[in-house]
């Protein structure tokens, strides 16, 4: 009965009969949130129309009321019924008036993959386009995207680059070239030549490298490289970096791959798509030393000895059948109009009206272009067209084509392949067909793109490699270990997804994923090789789960100190899914948290102010509990305060760590184990958060109020089996709401 009444009240949200809400606000809110006090910079004594139009404000009000954060404990409290009714009314108002899934554009990652998948090439287009930002939520969500004039310029430039590379004026001349030791060059820092070998000994950044000045890439294309080399003084696998850039000046190098190499391999082979003028060089990334003080010839450590290089290319681009049908000389596409229609269909999958085609054709014909120029022009036009750049989904429910496009965008960051297109109807109408297709798509290596993109945006893994650990303090940390740390969450997620393991593993697991570098770092026994493998952990091991991963612990620290606050925020934001917004009007003074001072004491100052304590009561204990993990994620027994003496020397001062802290509910945490226990108890919130992230990513929009019910539904269907992850993903895509915008 009550709900019908409130529904009637809410239908016209400008109605002056929203009495319960305004009575409530006048009774419990406006004493502090009025013109005079404006606590937290917020006024609630504003006209009704204004208040009800601000959906974000309403959401905020519902949020703080539901969590009992407002009114503050010491102030007059509403009755549970009063509170509930207001929450209900405001929730309904938001639901009725919010915009769901604003117009989405393809991200630059998608742009890159779509072009490469369509034409079966490996162009590097990402850096030509401006970055899509994702500070809050995913960058594929329309409400976070913008399209600036600069981006438009770059789309034009990128389209031109694509058409010129794929359809150049001259046909390419395939060549085979071989180079020997006399052609090899380095920087004479740690490298040397003998009669029959060029030897690299060091990994001095931006210096040590092997390049071939005579190797000139004259035209765009794919080139095959084959180096004959062996490893000296070691039986271990080595990692060789492949870089592009002017080799005389290695600070310009762009690392494009890191390849494992074993002596038994004898040859290092790889393919690179290069532009005219590109230069390729190799670096010895797994070298254990940066410089060789004594003569490099006398160095007894591992070395790489190069003998020969063979380069072939450019190799002919094998355009897929779909494109060949447009580009080959068939009589069927004899008019400009037909060509335009064909290109639009091939890239955007939809048809455009004859009127539109005629308009474009007229403009192209007016330019008097050759046939090849015409083809390039049409392609460029399509690549800049709103039909290509935007995803025009139906306002309420997606059609078959858009549903398939959504699946491909979600799981592959790209467009549907021929097989998915041929099953588009079945997949739309039949859940079994849908499940089978999704399983196939997950097995396709293209699904790695989704996992890498999702993890990078969810856990901000790109920050892991931003800071290099200070060599004076962390003498044994190798850059390959840092790189492995950045990949660990991806492999972990992949393992849980592909093997349909429980999502509880994100909180704590009895295994980790690591390679040789990372297993050494974590001291979990020896893993062979550069590839990541599952390693079982003994009972009670510190590691396991997301919050014990070195990458997280490192990215939330700076060069010498950890930041418990950053760690607490990371956990609350990414694991719990809480919105973390710093308070508006507070001058936050940078606390000096260098080792020796009692950090706990300093952070307890947060308790002095209600404004601070609201969030810090949650943040601080989580961070403090992790203080036994140093700035690179290793376990430590004591704080080590670092004082810099000069560019070579530092001094340490040790002091004890007090990592005990009390949560808001009175529970104590003090270390990784107790913290994981708390997370375990909160698993409902956490699992729902992970499901929500996946949902938001897959639908390319922020969650709205209705979605929380769907997440709840999915959560409960997964509960009996303990939240198996692949099942979760399948439950999500087969849910009827997945077809909704």
């Amino acid at each position: 009965m009550k709900s019908i009444l409130y529904f009637l009240v809410c239908v016209n949200f400008l109605s002056a009969t929203d009495e319960p809400v305004f009575t409530f606000i006048n009774n419990y809110c406006t004493k502090c949130h009025d013109e005079d006090l404006q606590k937290g910079d917020l006024r609630l004594d504003i006209p009704q129309e204004e208040l009800l139009k601000d959906l974000n404000l309403l959401k905020n009000i519902v949020n703080v009321l539901s969590k009992n954060e407002m009114p503050p404990a010491k102030k007059k409290q509403p009755s549970p019924e009063e509170k509930d009714s207001v929450i209900k009314i405001l929730t309904q108002t938001v639901k009725d008036n919010q915009v769901v899934g604003l117009l989405k554009r393809i991200t630059r990652e998608e742009y890159n993959h779509i072009v490469n998948d369509t034409f079966n090439v490996k162009l590097d287009l990402k850096e030509m386009l401006p970055k899509d930002h994702s500070e809050h939520g995913f960058n594929r969500s329309g409400s976070h995207q913008t399209l600036s004039p600069y981006a438009m310029m770059q789309y034009i430039k990128a389209a031109n680059y694509v058409s010129q590379s794929l359809f150049p004026d001259r046909s390419t001349t395939f060549q085979t070239k071989t180079y020997g030791v006399p052609d090899f060059n380095g920087t004479q820092r740690g490298d040397y030549k003998t009669n029959d070998a060029f030897v690299l000994t060091t990994n001095y950044p931006w210096r040590s490298n092997l390049h071939v000045p005579n190797l000139k890439i004259e035209e765009f294309g794919e080139y095959h490289f084959e180096y004959v080399l062996k490893i000296l003084n070691s039986d271990n696998q080595q990692i060789i970096g492949v870089n592009i850039g002017d080799a005389r000046f290695p600070t310009n190098f762009k690392k494009v791959m890191q390849l494992p190499f074993k002596t038994s391999d004898q040859k290092l082979t790889f393919d690179l798509t290069l532009n005219a003028g590109d230069e390729v060089s190799l670096t010895f990334d797994s070298s254990k030393t940066w410089s060789v003080d004594s003569k490099p010839t006398m160095y007894h450590g591992e070395k790489l000895s190069f003998e020969k290089l063979t380069v072939t290319g450019p190799h002919k681009i094998n355009l897929p059948k779909k494109i060949q049908a447009i580009t080959s000389n068939t009589a069927q596409l004899d008019t400009v109009e037909k060509k335009i229609k064909a290109w639009v269909k091939a890239l955007c999958f939809n048809d455009i009206s004859d009127a539109e085609v005629d308009d474009v054709a007229e403009k192209i014909k007016a330019l008097n272009l050759s046939e090849l120029e015409q083809r390039r022009m049409i392609l460029e036009f399509v690549l800049c067209s709103p039909y290509f750049l935007y995803k025009n989904e139906d306002r309420v429910k997606l059609n078959e084509l858009d549903f398939s496009k959504r699946l491909a965008s979600f799981l592959w960051n790209s467009i549907p392949d021929d097989q998915l297109m041929s099953h588009a109807s079945a997949v739309y109408q039949n859940n079994t067909a849908l499940e089978n297709e999704v399983k196939r798509m997950l097995l396709d290596p293209k699904s790695d793109r989704f996992i890498e993109d999702f993890i990078q945006q969810w856990l901000s893994t790109d920050r892991i490699e931003v800071l290099a650990p200070d060599m004076r303090v962390y003498k044994t940390i190798h850059s390959l270990q840092i790189k492995a740390m950045a990949k660990e969450p991806v492999y972990f997620f992949k393992e849980i997804l592909h093997h349909n393991l429980s999502m509880m593993n994100f909180i704590d697991s009895d295994f980790i994923m690591c390679n040789d570098q990372l297993s050494e770092f974590y001291h979990v026994g020896k893993v062979e090789g550069h590839d990541f493998k599952r390693v079982k952990l003994e009972n009670g091991h510190l590691r396991g789960g997301l919050i014990s991963q070195a990458g997280f612990l490192k990215q939330t620290s700076n060069a010498f100190e950890t930041s418990p606050i950053q760690r607490g925020v990371w956990i609350l934001k990414n694991i719990y899914g809480e919105e973390m917004i710093p308070p508006a009007n507070v001058q936050i003074e940078e606390p000096d948290i260098r080792g020796a001072k009692n950090l706990k004491e300093i952070m307890s100052l947060h308790q002095k102010s209600n404004e601070c304590y609201r969030c810090h009561s949650k943040i601080d204990p989580f961070g403090l509990a992790l203080e036994h993990f140093d700035p690179v994620g290793q376990y430590r027994n004591e704080y080590r305060k670092v004082t810099i003496i000069d560019t070579e020397k530092v001094a340490f001062e040790n002091s004890p760590i007090d990592s005990k802290a009390k949560l808001k509910n009175g529970q104590m945490v003090s270390d990784m184990a107790s913290l994981k226990k708390v997370l375990s108890e909160d698993h409902e919130k956490i699992i729902k958060n992970i499901l929500s992230r996946l949902y938001s990513y897959s639908k390319a929009r922020e969650l709205c109020y209705q979605d929380h019910e769907i997440i709840n539904e999915i959560y409960h269907t997964l509960k009996p089996q303990n939240f198996l992850f692949k099942d979760a993903l399948l439950a999500m895509v087969t849910h009827p709401c997945f077809k909704d915008r």
Binding site: L147, P149, T251, N252, D359, Y387, N392
Partner: protein
Amino acid sequence: MNRKSILKSAGVTLLLPNLLSAGAILTPPKKRLFTVVNHLSFYQPALIPKTEGRNYEQTALLSPFKDLPLSIFSQLDNPGVQLGNGHTPSVGILSGFFNVLDRKNKISFDQIAANHLGTETRFESICLQAGTNLNFSQVCWNRDGLPVYQESSPEKAFQKLFGIEQSQAIQNQRLIKEKSILDMVSAQAKVFQKSLNQEDKQKLDEYFTSIREVEKKLLKEKYWVNRDKPKTNYKPENFPILALDHYLQTMLDIAKLALQTDSTRVVTLQIPFWEYFELEDKKDHYHHLSHHGMKEDKVTKLLNIESMIMSKISKLYQDFCEIKMGSSSLLDETTCLITAPMGSANAHDFNRLPAIIAGGNYKHGRNIFTNGKPINSLYLRLLKDLDVPINSFNHEKSTLEIS
């Protein structure tokens, strides 16, 4: 920040350039920026006066500037710098940031100025380097964090300013094609828009706005393609590639020409990492001298080089003074900065940096010990005074006062 302001700041608001004729049209004075970065820095005991404030005592390296008012800052901190290998943090001098493990950076302050001041000139900025060593030489970084190409060849720089590159016909063809594409997609977008709901229609506005702005940019490009480049009698001379003084002089000449012809209003010149060089027929090793270890003879030789550098720069400033632009001089209209990425090249100390400012219509004359203030505060002050509408540079909101 609402969408429109994001677009405006990212886009190009175009005013077709005013005719450049000295004094003929009353136009408000233009603002310009000229930055010199000396990679191997300066021997600070001979650069920074010992007394603070006005009436500071002259130093050996500043004596060439005795008739030119300067503002001298020292002890500046570069907040983004970490211990890098050798010289690597030097690439962060103008951006106040360096990411050691990646080849990317954040936008440098001169490029922010270029984005803003460059809308009326053929070139947004000209970045030069007086030396061939490109290692650690990127000091100019664009909005995507990628290096802006720094021209090390005087011939190519000269050609860019005064020579004919691609034929006008080819360039015009390209512009016509690009305009055509914009027309086609614009027409398509109008159709596309019809199928959208209200909120999505508004979102698509970005697309239309961007197209319009790019059209303006193409118009601007077309304007410059079909407009002759300025003429000059100057000819860059041939000089031995190791002749540091000739190299520097030529690049300074080119910088002057670039500003004088209003080809650009932002010029950044780096004297990069120099190893072997020739000066007055003597061959030596600049890098080795910069590691003087306090040895007197090395310091003397080092000061020889640095005096030559300062002498040439001060002569350039003198020339700026004598070049009339309307009712003011080029020096008044140009904020001139000299800085270096190391406080002491001898110790590879990337903090305690010096910054010397001339021109720009400031009331110069003070020597200021900043005691570790961030250099980004100075950059922010300069940008604000160049009328760039920003409130912070690389997270720095405070500014250092100049006059």
